[in-house]
Symmetry: C2
Subunit: 238 residues, 2 copies
């Protein structure tokens, strides 16, 4: 059984190399991390467990098919940390029906079914998250990807310390396409579900990141905002 926090869409992927691609999100419940600025605490904090549903692969695909009107599209597995769940059967079943699968995970845990994925986005957490980073574990995740799996790194940047860390990560993994993403420090939280993201601040941080990378002549990292936050702010289910 797979622990599910929410399934929604079709909408568009708001982050990373697949930005703007139509997708249905399958968000799993449960995480081995607790980032300082987590924007999906309802899929992370154990206190929300009663809102998560244990589902089978075919129950999940039935819901994805209903949302997509049976027309295959990209399914994005997110969390929490979806790499904690047994997703091999879901991938097999969905791919048989023509769906493609992307996962978003921090790279703290690897699974043999990473090789079945169409897209693997590894998003190791920067110092500002308060979480540890283990390059050897990230390397193992990269190696677990299959021949046909498109891999990317996505690094969230809240400040100069995070930026310098990202430079080091990029130097350690020069062969992996990478995108940098400004950190939303005003995500909605269970305590403050109506919290609005500060778009002025987010835009200023995006511009800072473009200038910062430019001043280092760091031209092989893409710089992308959280598109869904610019368009829908902190709204859930989009």
């Amino acid at each position: 059984m797979i622990l599910i926090s929410e399934i929604f869409g079709p909408t568009v992927q708001g982050e990373g190399a697949l930005i703007g691609v139509p997708t249905v999100f399958v968000r799993t419940g449960g995480c081995d991390f607790r980032c300082n600025w987590c924007d999906t605490l309802y899929a992370v904090e154990p206190s929300f467990k009663q809102q998560w549903q244990a589902m089978t692969a075919s129950q999940i695909m039935a819901q994805v098919q209903e949302l997509s009107g049976g027309m295959p599209l990209l399914v994005t597995l997110s969390g929490g940390n979806p790499a904690l769940q047994p997703l091999g059967e879901l991938l097999q079943l969905g791919q048989q029906q023509g769906y493609r699968f992307a996962i978003e995970t921090q790279g703290s845990k690897l699974q043999p079914w990473f090789a079945q994925l169409d897209y693997l986005t590894l998003s190791p957490k920067p110092p500002s998250s308060g979480m540890p980073f283990d390059p050897a574990r990230l390397q193992a995740c990269l190696q677990a990807a299959g021949e046909q799996t498109e891999v990317q790194l996505k690094l969230v940047i809240a400040d100069e310390t995070d930026y310098q860390w990202a430079r080091e990560v990029a130097q350690k993994f020069p062969e992996v396409p990478l995108s940098l993403q400004p950190c939303n420090l005003q995500a909605a939280t269970p305590d403050q579900p109506e919290q609005e993201a500060d778009l002025t601040q987010l835009n200023a941080q995006y511009r800072w990141l473009v200038e910062r990378a430019g001043s280092d002549r760091w031209f092989d990292a893409r710089i992308l905002p959280q598109l869904h936050v610019l368009v829908w702010n902190n709204e859930r289910g989009v």
Copy 2:
């Protein structure tokens, strides 16, 4: 000699499949079109000719090198319509120095040097532009791309008529990756250089486009805003 309106950067590409990629823009002067909602009239209207500069390929590359500190990156050729200019020598010179080249053109005119490009973005204009669309000409442009040239279509959508037109274009060219882009109806113009884009309206139009394509189960087109407008509004030189 190449007619140049402006050269600026490094910044990021704000549109299409290369969104977020660091780049220097080389904007040529002169256009065979005059779209109703053109956002770069200063590179289109003949009355701005005295602001355009005739430059050689090596003069242009000298300026690109200065802006990029000699570190190769993506150079984006835009306009006006850059396909009106003799750019073959520029491509050869820049690529020898390690730079990659993308062009943004409406597909009304093709050039043999299209085959030298790293990226060819064809942006045929929708009905709301007031300009004609010739599918045969677009097909010829696609055929002019080389084996190594990555091709994409980028279609601007202002309304339902444009949307239906885009559906037809997509059906005619199913093999070409495509992105849809909401139209900025409040671009700055020479008469109103301080005009601000209406971000609330642009976001509403983006959301409409996501819903519209979703309701048709049209999942193989990316939907992307003009990122630079969301981040820098109508500012020039970013």
